[in-house]
């Protein structure tokens, strides 16, 4: 009996070592990486495997001036759910892949082009604010239809918005703009961690300006 359990534990340790060599840093215990396909384009999100890796550059700063870079609340608007990284990945795998949702990078194009979450589409927050006379064109592209003297939002995409991080107010401004335009709150989600937390966890990013 003792021998049996020794053999079992040896096998167990052995397999653990094998799998650990294949993937030192998984997303969750059962989830080494996430793959999804959007409109024919394939994406894979994993984490940086170097356990000594550290962030460098802009996203290591602790003390950006506030205002404007102020700490955001957990809930930015009533009815808009706040999510974390696993919900972002699930959203990409299910709703974005199936064409019912969009992950929106609400930053200005320069930031988006320098590094974004795979599968995200750039809709800058100021394009969604009320002073953009062409905002309704964006609403129509998001699935709103003309009805009478206004827009009908019953068939719009679910939107998940992020920006630079918990100290970035651009997602909130984008969400406020969407709500102001008539977008239903229950179709909106807020990834508060943003690029800051995404990078801190060593998750894959893409640089859309360089074609990938």
């Amino acid at each position: 009996m003792l021998r049996f359990s020794a053999v079992f534990s040896a096998i167990f340790i052995f397999t653990q070592t094998i799998s650990a060599q294949a993937q030192t840093v998984s997303i969750t215990q059962d989830l080494p990486q996430v793959s999804f396909s959007i409109n024919g384009q394939n994406f894979t999100v994993a984490r940086i495997q170097d356990t000594e890796n550290q962030l460098t550059g802009d996203f290591t700063k602790t003390s950006r001036a506030c205002p404007p870079f102020c700490i955001q609340p957990m809930t930015v608007a009533p009815g808009v759910d706040t999510v974390g990284e696993l919900e972002v990945l699930d959203f990409l795998q299910t709703r974005v892949s199936s064409g019912t949702g969009l992950l929106i990078d609400s930053r200005v194009p320069d930031f988006y082009n320098n590094g974004a979450i795979p599968g995200a589409v750039n809709v800058p927050f100021n394009a969604l604010e009320s002073d953009n006379p062409y905002r309704d064109d964006i609403m129509r592209a998001l699935g709103a239809t003309d009805s009478g003297d206004g827009l009908d939002f019953s068939n719009v995409y679910d939107l998940m918005l992020y920006c630079n991080g918990p100290w970035c107010g651009q997602s909130k401004r984008a969400i406020d703009g969407l709500l102001d335009a008539g977008y239903p709150a229950d179709r909106l989600f807020y990834y508060r961690g943003g690029m800051q937390n995404w990078l801190l966890l060593g998750l894959t990013t893409v640089t859309p300006a360089n074609g990938g």
């Binding site: 959007i38 409109n39 064409g99 969009l102 194009p109 599968g119 589409v121 750039n122 809709v123 800058p124 100021n126 394009a127 002073d131 953009n132 006379p133 062409y134 905002r135 064109d137 964006i138 592209a141 998001l142 995409y157």
Partner: protein, 292 residues
């Protein structure tokens, strides 16, 4: 016989109306001195006279003269142009054609709604829309429409069709309302100015390959070309004004090429003639345009 008499009577009434109303229209401009006002009176009558003398069938002349009088006096009635126009810039159109032919211009890809490059909101919206459409796979309805002129031209050029064929093709599509045409490419007889469009494509392709900007024509244009130079004195200054009488088949784009060497200068001519041109495609044979 009685018809000819009636026609003469009608034209006489129109000429009288022109003489009575046209100076009143110009009086609205306080900047003009007496000298220039006399000038504009002499400008008005020759504009009408050749048009009437040139065509004895009275109806067309009466309509166009009347509409010009209405335009001069602030009247609103204008004949609707047969061709659907847009205010897309010709550089977008030519860049689109060249891009379709596989020649990169280095210019940004034409956007469906961009009319003025400096409208940030419009550009940002266009960028966001392009991003959404790329990821959702939605068609871009406006882009498809505004690009169809470009794709028609590009396809015909790829097939090696001659200019006359392309001209017929574009005019047929424009008359049917299938494509919309940059307003400056609508000629005085309501057709698409294909030769100017094609020349502009060639010019842009040349500029791309040689890196040389087109030069303005150096040959001075004379009276035979419908050009007239007048010297106007105002407040101690002597200024020279150039006038051009629009001929059949001219478009604002072709006139810009004639004087400045490139269609890109058409807004300069249009702006200087806002009093008689309500829109760049409302150009009519016999109109006298100031060339700034």
């Amino acid at each position: 016989m009685i018809r000819i008499v009636l026609a003469f009577f009608a034209t006489a009434v129109v000429v009288c109306a022109a003489i009575v109303f046209a100076p009143a229209g110009n009086n609205d401009d306080p900047a003009q001195t007496d000298v220039t006002r006399t000038q504009s009176q002499t400008v008005t009558s020759p504009t009408l006279a050749p048009a009437i003398a040139g065509q004895n069938t009275s109806d067309g002349v009466a309509v166009s003269a009347a509409s010009r009088i209405l335009a001069a006096t602030g009247g609103a009635v204008q004949p609707e142009p047969a061709i659907k126009t847009d205010d897309s810039s010709i550089s977008d159109t030519t860049a689109g054609v060249l891009a379709a032919l596989g020649l990169a211009t280095g210019a940004p890809a034409p956007t469906p709604t961009s009319t003025t490059g400096d409208d940030k909101m419009m550009d940002m919206t266009a960028g966001a829309l392009a991003g959404i459409r790329a990821i959702t796979g939605q068609p871009a309805p406006q882009q498809a429409e505004s690009n169809s002129l470009q794709s028609l031209v590009a396809k015909a050029l790829q097939e090696g069709q001659n200019d006359a064929y392309i001209d017929a093709l574009l005019n047929e599509a424009a008359q049917a309302g299938d494509v919309s045409v940059p307003a400056m490419l609508v000629t005085s007889d309501g057709r698409v100015d294909t030769s100017t469009l094609l020349a502009s494509i060639v010019q842009q392709a040349t500029t791309m390959t040689t890196g040389q900007a087109p030069a303005a024509p150096t040959t001075p244009l004379g009276a035979a070309d419908g050009v007239e130079v007048r010297v106007v004195q105002r407040a101690g200054e002597t200024e020279q004004y150039k006038f051009y009488t629009v001929a059949a088949g001219d478009s604002l784009g072709s006139i810009a090429v004639k004087f400045y060497g490139s269609v890109e200068f058409f807004p300069r001519i249009f702006e200087a003639n806002r009093q008689i041109l309500s829109s760049p495609d409302r150009i009519q044979a016999g109109q006298r345009l100031v060339i700034p």
